[in-house]
């Protein structure tokens, strides 16, 4: 079995700890001297770069959250001058204040390295044709896979997302052997292939790397049996680097975290205390080598658990379980992150409606669907159908332009949406993971 970088991926754990400690010290120095936000936060906690000697001191440092990134929008947490930044990505689906990430040339090289590890652990090599059906653009999915694919010398097909018939045609004509996309799109594609009349024997597909949204073991089995491939789970988030943070190997027993670059901790999201190995909690990352946007104890809000047992594949890197959920109310719709509060702020900007709404998430034919029910406000209700239709269309357009997501809007009668004391129920997620 191939391992891209045996030196690091199979490193002796005590040696790895030493490396992590050295890198943490460098990172803390970098953020302390280059990012005012981190310097202030550390000073408030009575800490300086000299307070950190080993990776065990990490727990003394304060956490960083998505809100901190937003508060410092767009480049406030970058640790290098903009002249050193060669790439900017931004997280999807936010109301103006998206989370923006910047990469130096070295960061791009690190990213390519961890993606090369990811693809190799999924069984890919230079002889593969990798069809990248993740979106290209500000979203990190497409380009992340792209650079990794080129790094291992595979033939990269940057087809990007959507246009299913073309995906199938290219897969058939070019002889794609690997597919990279969201798991729900993989399932959608599987069914489209069945309907297309192209027989499975005409396709050379043998494996796929799927991520950017939560999926279950059931979904994996369905993808594997329908596409007759091995389906590998990959994990990443743009704040940390994008895809490439962690990936399964062909044994599919947890995702190997590239912990020489991204150090994981599991915390209790309520008490914020670090939990012992094996406990389920919120995953927190500290980047150990990043230059553009180093992050100290970044709270991912993803729930999982870690194991440091050596894997059958020979890699020593810590493994995380498939994500078990979130510690906040973020939804992932067709790979796009969405907080209900973002919908609310779009509605609040419209004087014609009151923000009494209900979001209904479902998965129909393997594609996520989103419906928004909004109550009609009496003050705005005159008796014209055209006016209501115009309003409905306007809400839909406003949501689409600020969230980048198509949402079906339905007008409902007032008080149809349940009111409750305190936190009302704003989301019904009917998807089965």
């Amino acid at each position: 079995m191939e391992i891209w970088n045996r030196h690091f991926e199979c490193m002796d754990r005590s040696e790895l700890r030493k490396l992590q400690s050295e890198r943490l010290i460098e990172t803390v120095e970098r953020v302390y001297f280059n990012v005012p936000y981190y310097r202030h936060k550390m000073q408030e906690a009575g800490l300086g770069p000299e307070s950190i000697h080993t990776i065990d001191d990490l727990g003394r440092l304060p956490y960083t959250t998505k809100q901190d990134l937003r508060d410092n929008y767009p480049f406030g947490l970058f640790a290098v001058p903009m002249s050193e930044i060669v790439r900017i990505h931004a997280s999807s689906g936010t109301t103006g204040k998206s989370t923006v990430v910047g990469y130096t040339r070295n960061d791009i090289s690190t990213w390519s390295e961890v993606m090369a590890r990811t693809l190799t652990s999924a069984g890919a090599n230079r002889n593969d044709f990798i069809q990248i059906a993740y979106g290209y653009g500000l979203f990190t999915g497409g380009l992340g896979l792209h650079y990794g694919g080129e790094k291992i010398g595979a033939s990269v097909i940057p087809i990007s997302g959507g246009n299913t018939m073309r995906q199938i045609q290219i897969m058939h004509d070019f002889g794609s052997t690997m597919l990279a996309c969201t798991p729900s799109y993989a399932l959608y594609l599987a069914e489209a292939i069945q309907e297309s009349g192209i027989s499975r024997e005409e396709l050379k597909l043998r494996a796929g790397v799927f991520g950017a949204e939560p999926w279950t073991e059931n979904m994996r089995r369905e993808i594997e049996s329908k596409l007759k491939i091995k389906a590998i789970d990959i994990y990443g988030l743009s704040e940390v680097i994008g895809p490439g943070v962690a990936s399964e190997c062909i044994f599919q027993e947890g995702l190997h975290i590239n912990e020489d670059h991204f150090y994981p901790e599991i915390i209790d999201p309520e008490t914020l205390l670090v939990l012992p190995e094996g406990s389920v909690g919120e995953l927190v990352f500290t980047t150990l080598t990043k230059e553009g946007l180093p992050l100290i104890r970044y709270r991912t809000r993803d729930l999982t658990r870690l194991t440091r047992e050596k894997c059958r594949c020979g890699r020593t890197m810590v493994r995380m379980e498939k994500c078990l959920g979130r510690s906040d109310d973020m939804l992932i719709i067709r790979g796009v992150n969405l907080f209900p509060s973002q919908v609310e702020s779009v509605l609040l900007e419209m004087s014609e409606i009151k923000p009494h709404y209900l979001l209904i998430v479902d998965r129909i034919n393997n594609l996520d669907t989103l419906e928004l029910k909004v109550e009609v406000d009496e003050a705005f209700f005159l008796d014209k159908i055209s006016q209501l239709e115009t309003l409905r269309k306007k809400i839909q357009d406003n949501l689409e332009s600020s969230l980048g997501l198509g949402i079906k809007v339905t007008l409902v009668e007032p008080k149809m949406i349940e009111r409750s004391e305190g936190k009302s129920k704003r989301v019904i997620d009917k998807r089965k993971y």
Partner: protein, 141 residues
């Protein structure tokens, strides 16, 4: 000559219209005219009742979205050509009709109209000696 009309926003769900009528029925409210405009998802129920304010309150208590809008009413022989004449008078003056509905009463047709400018429409119809009904005349039908 302006007649108050009750407009109720309704989701396209079975049983909703029944509920509106039951609420009004519980207070023995009489309905002079009723019409529904609908799309696949929602509709607007339009009602002419003798005491629109009272009916509005009753429905509001039951959480319906209700408003009172203004319409005008014309009485004409119940033949298509008279209906056409009414509309022609208005269109000749560029008064647009937002919606209209009608019902027969004996040999007469009672036409309800909502125009872009109701006052102007009243003037124009009067000029052409059309028979306009006021609210109390309409309720007696």
């Amino acid at each position: 000559m302006i007649i108050p009309q009750l407009s109720v926003f309704l989701e396209n769900k079975s049983g909703r219209l029944t509920e509106v009528l039951e609420v009004l029925g519980s207070e023995n409210i009489r309905i002079t005219a009723l019409s529904i405009a609908d799309t696949s998802e929602f509709g607007i129920l339009r009602l002419i009742v003798p005491d629109a304010e009272k009916a509005k309150k009753l429905l509001k208590v039951q959480h319906f979205t209700v408003n009172i809008s203004e319409v005008i009413s014309v009485s004409a022989p119940n033949e298509a050509k008279y209906y056409a004449k009414v509309l022609k008078i208005l269109s000749d003056l560029d008064i647009s009709v937002e919606y209209t509905y009608a019902f027969s009463h004996g040999s007469k047709s009672i036409i309800i109209l909502r125009c872009s400018n109701n006052e102007q429409a009243i003037g124009a119809l009067k000029d052409h000696e059309m028979e306009l009904l006021n609210a109390s005349e309409l309720y007696k039908i």
